[in-house]
């Protein structure tokens, strides 16, 4: 088990491509850290630098107290699981897990002990003599994990390990990985582009874009207090609604003018808008779909943020309904109760929960109201 420290870590390739810029992060022992972001954002490159499979162009990487910039990957005491995992088809589960250790010339009795311990953790004991062909997808994935566990590493690095699995198995394996983290109590760094995986697994999440860390925080804080438009849009599905609004200040209250309505902000948000000198300026207004209501009770409780819109699409997902409509030519989504009577073509009254409104600077994309 170990802590990690990345200080001003950069990766610039000789062709000038800058994959990772000034990456700073302190990872505590036993943390489950997620690197999330769109394809090409530098998350896998960062993971590979931690593994030692990519050289660090500048900055410092420490595992525990040890500076490991120039330490060979195999001497860093880490283990990796990739999405393109493959099992040796002609070997039993036992041999699949043992093979890496055999290559490293680990004594046979030690290998036996390590494999059996890992098999116990992963509930693979009854399957040890089976060949991969006779395993289910989930069992195979557990064997792939087992190959990493037998090394008893200080840190696990996982690069999209569930990407090749179908949706149902992904959910199942997500739970397995969470349980595994609890059982092993080891530091895990996990790369994914799937924000659901990030939200459900991570103790902290690092959101990256174009090689730059956008925000590092707990899943809840990332969701509730995104620092910029990118994080706000990336975390959450359906994504946060965004539309342009003009700020109007009257006394100590800031109003956002949208579709001929002036929506008042609460005292805290108003102060930040006024202090930032946004009076008369166009800003980006953001609100999550679950904070847009169609129920009469909420509409009556928030009379100053009520507006009417025609429903374009109705999507029933069982436990919830997504209503799609346009507001001031901006596409919007509301996540509402499945008992809603709204249907495509209906003109519906909606209300915003004004305490949940996010306001972003239109030029810099940074949050104003957090």
């Amino acid at each position: 088990m170990a802590s990690l420290s990345l200080k001003n870590v950069c990766k610039v390739y000789p062709n000038g491509f800058e994959a990772v810029k000034d990456f700073n992060l302190e990872i505590a022992d036993q943390e489950f850290i997620i690197f999330v972001g769109p394809s090409g954002c530098g998350k896998s490159t960062t993971l590979r630098m931690i593994a030692g499979l990519e050289d660090i162009s500048s900055g410092e990487l420490r595992i525990g107290d040890r500076l490991v910039n120039d330490v060979e990957p195999k001497d860093r005491d880490i283990a990796m699981v990739f999405q393109n995992y493959a099992l040796y088809p002609h070997m039993t589960v036992y041999d699949n897990m043992a093979f890496g250790l055999k290559l490293r010339k680990v004594p046979t009795d030690e290998i036996d002990k390590m494999v059996k311990e890992a098999a116990k953790i992963l509930d693979l004991v009854p399957l040890l003599e089976r060949k991969p062909k006779a395993l289910s997808g989930g069992q195979r994935q557990r064997v792939a994990m087992g190959r990493a566990i037998v090394r008893n590493p200080k840190v696990f690095l996982m690069d999209e390990p569930l990407s090749n699995l179908d949706a149902k198995l992904r959910v199942q394996m997500r739970i397995e990985i969470a349980k595994l983290h609890q059982r092993l109590g080891t530091t895990i760094i996990y790369v994914t582009h799937d924000q659901t995986e990030a939200m459900t697994l991570g103790t902290r999440i690092v959101v990256m874009r174009d090689g730059v860390v956008q925000q590092v925080d707990t899943p809840q804080n990332l969701y509730d207090k995104p620092v910029n438009l990118f994080v706000a849009g990336f975390m959450g599905s359906p994504q946060m609604n965004f539309l342009d609004a003009v700020v109007e200040v009257q006394g100590e209250t800031a109003y956002l003018k949208i579709a001929d309505k002036s929506i008042p902000l609460n005292a805290e948000k108003s102060k930040k808008i006024i202090d930032g000198g946004y009076d008369g300026k166009t800003v980006t207004f953001g609100i999550r779909p679950e904070d847009v209501y169609d129920s009469e009770m909420m509409v009556e409780a928030n009379p100053l943020s009520v507006f009417e819109a025609t429903i374009r699409v109705y999507e029933l997902l069982g436990a919830e309904v997504f209503l799609y409509f346009d507001l001031d030519e901006f596409p919007m989504t509301a996540r509402v109760d499945p008992r809603t009577t709204a249907r495509p073509g209906d003109v519906v009254r909606f209300a915003f929960d004004t305490d949940k409104i996010h306001v972003f600077d239109k030029e810099t994309s940074q949050i104003i109201t957090n």
Binding site: P14, N15, G16, F17, T45, F82, N84, Y85, L103
Partner: protein, 283 residues
Amino acid sequence: MDRTKRLEAALSELEAAGRIGSAEVEYLLEAMQQEDSIEQFFEELLQGRLSINENDLLRRAKKLDLNMEAKWIVYHIQTAYPAEARELLGQMYSDPQEAVFLDGSPEMLRLLLMAAEKDVEQQAKEAAEQIVSMINTELMEKVYVGYSDVCKTITLQVADAQAGMALEILRTFYEERLEAGYGSLGIGRLIYSIQKEDCEAFLEEYFGEEHELELSEEELQTVNKFFEKNLNISETARDLFMHRNTLVYHLEKLQKKTGLDIRRFDDAMTLKIALMVERYMNR
């Protein structure tokens, strides 16, 4: 003593001890020689040392139980530990009729994989990714893979050259990638096929007799970001954390130095190609 001779001696001893019949010895020897010869056959084929007489070739292939109609993909695997990589990948691809390992250079292993019937390109890419993953995770070693287009057995020599070129272009132009197929090398392949003299003439035309671009790290970073952002000044300035006027100043300075105004598409293209040509020349 090589492996065949050692095995022959061991089998003779067993025969002498009466524990194995002479027919079995012959069978085992033949089988063993056949296994050795598959590698030999492909090695000779790749080096162009095999008879070009089709009948000879077919006769030899038949003897080795090889399907000459099969299609192949050649992989060049660059690793500091080719022997360990071979042992590892040998467990993944263990059928000698469908996967043949050949030595490359001290830091390169060659693998010939029989191609699937369908989705060949996808399969080729997945196999390359898998090779990288396996060596990364099991050996904890860096690895780069170049691979060929799908080819017939008879044209393996061409495919071998394609895989070698893919690996070289990957390491010259696309350092951020770990694997590349011959069919997806883009402009790198085009530049790679130009004669050195023509490259020199091109650089000389734009950058004088020294034909050195001599861009600083900062200038290179600005240029690359500007290209990455499709010549968009606002987006580039935002990503580089500088004011757009500062970026314009840098671009004008670059124009004085190189004679190229990369805000114009033609000049941007020229500089992009010049940078790649320079990398190719200096590789």
